[in-house]
């Protein structure tokens, strides 16, 4: 496994860049308290009153918002929320998709039928509108995005994994496991699951970018939590505080760049990983 992962990075520049970007943001998130120069939510004052819309300076690297908050510190703390949302959504999609795909593919019959009908319904729901309604239903929280992604994106992973399981089920070693009296549970999770884990990982890594983009959109639309600093929240704050007409690029450009970096890193990793999984694409 480790040798396999090492091979991916040795041969693939995309994946290496993606992983470097993630490592960078993980470090930033861990050491956010040390890196941030101010409390991100504190309203700053100076001797001449509220420190609003200040240009970049040594005290405020990226200046301040129209409420006198430090933009740089918000940006640093925002990485925590993005990582938490992205990684938990990836986990949700990978776990749900894997379990559903395994059960559906292994048992077949009415269970398979039911699960595939549920998949059609999940794919029939418009994604972002559903997240908005869910956020209104459950109250503002970053977890809404994770729940919605789990609820709506498992079919993509589930269907692919299911078809993989269908072919694995017919293999000789599964047959012999059955004959030797293995329980279905044991066959599914011990004999079949390890073979489809790479696929689970692939769909999980695709979900990271989706989750971060969705979280940003939901916060931007004003359905996110107001006490958690996220990049989407920063953009919403900037948009509603006339940062656009003030030309405060330094306020709304950096959060967007962070989102792009994080999402593109997810794309790069899944792309690199795909080339290893399906080497036909490479030539």
């Amino acid at each position: 496994m480790i040798a396999e992962i090492y091979k991916i990075f040795k041969e693939n520049n995309y994946a290496t860049i993606g992983v470097c970007i993630y490592l960078f943001f993980i470090l930033v998130a861990i050491f956010a308290d040390l890196i941030a120069t101010n409390d991100p939510l504190r309203i700053n004052f100076s001797s001449s009153g509220l420190s609003r819309n200040l240009p970049p300076s040594w005290e405020y690297f990226l200046g301040t918002t129209s409420n006198g908050r430090d933009i740089f510190s918000q940006l640093i703390y925002g990485s925590r929320n993005a990582l938490a949302v992205g990684l938990s959504a990836a986990l949700a999609v990978a776990i749900l998709g894997t379990i559903v795909g395994l059960i559906s593919g292994f048992y077949g019959g009415w269970i398979d039928n039911l699960i595939m009908r549920l998949a059609d319904i999940a794919l029939g729901l418009p994604f972002l509108p559903f997240v908005i309604v869910l956020a209104a239903f459950l109250g503002p929280s970053s977890w809404n995005v994770v729940i919605a992604i789990g609820l709506l994106l498992w079919p993509n992973a589930g269907r692919i994994i299911r078809s993989q399981v269908l072919t694995l089920r017919e293999r000789g070693y599964i047959e012999s496991a059955k004959v030797s009296g293995c329980s279905n549970f044991r066959i599914i999770f011990l004999h079949i699951a390890p073979n489809i884990l790479p696929l689970s990982f692939l769909y999980g890594s695709i979900a990271i970018g989706w989750a971060i983009l969705t979280e940003a959109s939901v916060s931007f639309l004003g359905f996110g939590p107001s006490d958690v600093i996220s990049w989407g929240y920063m953009l919403q704050d900037a948009y509603s505080s006339q940062a656009l007409s003030l030309g405060a690029y330094i306020w709304f450009i950096p959060p967007g760049i962070c989102i792009v970096l994080m999402v593109v890193a997810g794309f790069f990793i899944s792309r690199g990983y795909e080339e290893i999984l399906f080497p036909k694409i490479k030539k």
Binding site: G124, P129, F130, V133, G247, Y249, F252, V260
Partner: protein, 328 residues
């Protein structure tokens, strides 16, 4: 031709999915914490006024009665009255729908024309510096949040350079008398340019990458090799033989893209204050206007499901492998 009954079956199945989604949405709104009228009723309302409103919106009936009424009314095209505007929801949706359709189609057409040409070009330039340089750029534009691109475009083109309007479909004070007069007004299209270009920038990645990988695949097939041996020019091979076949999945993706873009337009419409269906939904949800939110959501879902259905059909029609098999 292909099997008529399988299409009917698919169509009925589509209606079934729509019904399930409508049911989920109905119960989500009904089970939301708090009275649905809290946002609507002023503090100065008397108890009688309150009761009258509750009756008027049918909130005094049992949940089951409300549900059957909702399904019957929805089938009749009646989505009830908006809490905030006190107008029939269906009228508000019909007013917003053309704006959304035009924005979506306009951007999709720009995105797909550009994406298909650029994708074919990049496949042709396989393993060159141009390709190595372009693909990461394409992936990056796909990763940027639409609303953020919109914010940059607004700050730069509207506020700084002042060459495009900052939102809406008309200048302040101008009201289009009919939908037709709006759709024939140049002013409307002037307002359309910025949002649709931003949306197109976001949407072009999919057709581009799809076209490129299809082209790479098709170029390796026997009939392309055959054309080369016949001595046809490489340009002719690319246009007449390879591109034609590579376009099939792109056409399907376009149809799927219409349904998908409708849902995603929620953010772009909000940034540009574009009075479409998505913005209506955001407004309705944030002001707890349940009938309006329900109606807008069901419309968005119907469009998405219908487009998925059409994409299926299109695939049957266009893919020679599928239609050939059924013809014989």
């Amino acid at each position: 031709m292909f099997d008529f009954w399988s299409i009917v079956r698919r169509f009925l199945y589509m209606l079934f999915v729509l019904w399930i989604v409508a049911t989920i949405i109905f119960f989500m709104f009904r089970l939301m914490p708090g009275s649905p009228l809290t946002a609507f009723i002023g503090t100065t309302f008397t108890d009688e006024q309150h009761d009258l409103l509750v009756k008027r919106f049918g909130l005094d009936k049992s949940l089951f009665e409300q549900y059957t009424l909702f399904i019957v009314n929805t089938l009749k095209g009646d989505f009830g009255l908006s809490f905030t505007y006190n107008k029939p929801v269906i009228n508000m949706i019909i007013e917003a729908l053309p704006n959304s359709i035009i924005l979506t189609l306009f951007s999709l057409v720009i995105a797909y024309i550009f994406g298909v040409i650029a994708g074919a070009y990049l496949a042709w330039k396989r393993a060159t510096f141009i390709e190595g340089f372009s693909i990461p750029i394409v992936l990056t534009t796909r990763s940027a949040p639409e609303f953020w691109l919109g914010m940059i475009a607004l700050a730069f083109f509207s506020f700084q350079l002042d060459i495009f309007p900052s939102g809406g479909t008309s200048a302040a004070g101008v009201i289009y008398e009919t939908t037709l007069s709006k759709l024939t007004s140049l002013h409307f299209y002037y307002h359309l340019i910025l949002p649709s270009l931003v949306l197109a920038l976001y949407l072009q990645g999919l057709p581009l990458l799809l076209m490129r990988s299809n082209m790479l695949e098709v170029m390796q097939e026997d009939f392309v090799t055959m054309s080369k041996m016949k001595g046809l020019s490489s340009w002719r091979i690319v246009i007449y033989h390879a591109a034609r076949n590579a376009l099939l999945p792109v056409a399907t993706a376009f149809t799927l893209g219409v349904g998908f873009a409708f849902g995603g337009n929620v953010v772009i419409e909000t940034v540009f204050s574009w009075p479409g269906l998505g913005r209506l939904l955001v407004f309705a949800v944030s002001s707890s206007d349940y009938p309006l939110a329900q109606g807008a959501f069901i419309f968005l879902t119907a469009i998405l499901i219908l487009m998925n259905f059409l994409a299926d059909l299109l695939y049957l029609f266009l893919d020679p492998r599928v239609s050939y098999k059924t013809k014989n």
